[in-house]
Amino acid sequence: MFKKKKKIGHLPFILPAIIFILSLTLYPVLYAFYLSFTDASLLYPTKSFVGVRNYTDLLSSPIFFAIMQNTFIFVFSCVFLQFTLGLGLALALNQKLRGRVLVRVLLLISWVIPGIIIGLIFQWMFIGDRYGLINYCLISLGVKPVEWLSHPLSAMLSLIAANTWRGTAFSMIIQLAALQTIPDEQYEAANVDGASSLQKFYYITLPWLKPTILINIIMITLATFNTFDLVMSLTGGGPVRATEVISLYMYKEGFAFFKLGSASALAMIMFLVNIVFTLIYIRVLRQDQEVSLV
């Protein structure tokens, strides 16, 4: 009797969560997939099947490639900066010095602030005239102030700076946690053998961190690739689309130009990128944590 109870026991526990995930996460993905093959619009209720036209239209439009280029520059720069800064800070904060807890808390605060607010804060820091904090610093150093948000390149730089400020803490905390799992004996043994700090870093720290580094990079790549709020509030994609990334493009196609079919095709392209990275992520994770998952 006990056995039987156990056998049917799991369904009522897991079913509610599964229903939520199916209906509000997986079903919408399928729905968007379907919409991406239609000419659905917010302006009229009927839609018809148009095959892959939304995709071919996108792939043949110069705007799409400009947007992809913006997205790539944004993601690549942010991931590079966040990761290297994060790892560097983690190494510094792994030393048992006073004040490290304070620095860690200060850094992590940026991670809980809504992106929309970070965008507004940086807008006010980068504002074009001499009242902005950044321009004031430039003037003090004898450099000419820059209209940061009015030029394509400097607007992109501002965006990268803001997002790096937002995301560095995440890489820092993940690398720090990984550093703390390295057994001290490893370093003690290396000390006995007379290894230099650089050798210890290269032969002990890096190999030990490798799986975490990989997962860290995948996670921040996806987080940056999917960023919407910060871009929307800092630059809104401007000036003239110079900082418009794919998520903003998709939003505008759908809700400013009402082209739901085309926007869904963009969503699918974003989704594909996410899937590819997620598969790599799961693969790394499975090698790493096979036991705890089953």
């Binding site: 509000l24 200060l106 902005g132 998520s247 996410n274």
Partner: protein
């Protein structure tokens, strides 16, 4: 002696890094705090001062009395608290099911759940808008609560399953033998032992729902239902509001989560690193 000198030099270098890191982290925040307590006439004084000459709370009074900010705050609170409650309920039950039962396809289902954790909310805005439109749930708290819950459940299941797995199975088995139902064993034995995990789930879900922007932007157009990030965005975009009011509004929006984070940071850190770090 030489080693000690070298250590001292190394420590000074580290302290320099600590200082720069702290400055990097704190400067934007100091700038906002400073702006928010500047009187109107001081905002465009040059050179800009980090410490205002005559600090004032007038900007806070203005955004609390003269704008719908209190309404946004209330909306955010309702949505974030309801979502947190719903996620705790759904995820803890599911995690218990996954932890204590073996059934066919369990591994595959878990993998799908971990996978859905990686589906970003932003790629689903169009279908979710259409679904909520059809259900007549646009401009409701419920739309946001249901969707935020669905987004946060996968990660929470995964996190809690890890906690439940570490509780000896014999504990709830013996409760079952003593005549408890599965649900009661879960409630009386497992949950009280998993408070750190539940707290991590709660704080993560709360912060995620408090900060979410794009879905709120798409699903909520009536001002009476807008959450803080959406409300502040609209407020900064629609009216020609000055930066000192925006700064005050931003601070009011982030103070609760920053406080929550500082109080509960250990849970936060353990949740954040879970899944990325072995051990």
């Amino acid at each position: 002696m030489k080693a000690r000198t070298r250590k001292r030099v190394g420590d000074s270098f580290l302290y320099l890094i600590y200082f720069l890191a702290g400055l990097f982290a704190a400067l934007p925040i100091i700038w906002v705090v400073s702006t928010s307590i500047k009187p109107r006439q001081e905002i465009f004084s040059y050179p800009p001062k980090l410490i205002p000459q005559s600090p004032t709370l007038e900007n806070f009074v203005y955004v609390l009395r003269g704008t719908p900010l209190p309404q946004y705050f209330l909306n955010s609170l309702i949505v974030a608290l309801s979502t947190t409650f719903l996620v705790l309920l759904l995820a803890s039950l599911a995690a218990y099911g996954f932890s204590r039962h073996t059934f066919k396809g369990k591994y595959a289902i878990l993998m799908v759940i971990i996978g859905t954790q990686m589906i970003p909310g932003v790629t689903n805005i169009i279908p979710l808008y259409l679904i909520m439109n059809k259900l007549h749930l646009l401009n409701t708290y419920l739309a946001l609560i249901l969707i935020y819950a669905a987004i946060n459940v996968p990660f929470s299941i995964w996190l809690l399953k890890g906690f439940f797995d570490s509780i000896p199975f014999s504990l709830d088995e013996s409760a079952l033998i003593d005549g408890c139902s599965r649900l009661k064993a879960f409630w009386k034995v497992i949950l009280p032992l998993s408070l750190p995990g539940l707290s991590a789930v709660a704080i993560f879900t709360f912060i995620a729902s408090w900060n979410e922007f794009v879905l709120a932007l798409v699903l909520i157009s009536s001002q009476a239902r807008q959450t803080l990030p959406l409300g502040i965005y609209m407020f900064s975009n629609t009216y020609q509001v000055s930066y000192h009011s925006i700064s005050a509004a931003c601070l009011i929006a982030v103070i609760p989560i920053v406080a929550l984070f500082i109080i509960l940071q250990d849970f936060f850190v353990s949740g954040l690193t879970k899944g990325a770090v072995k051990g």
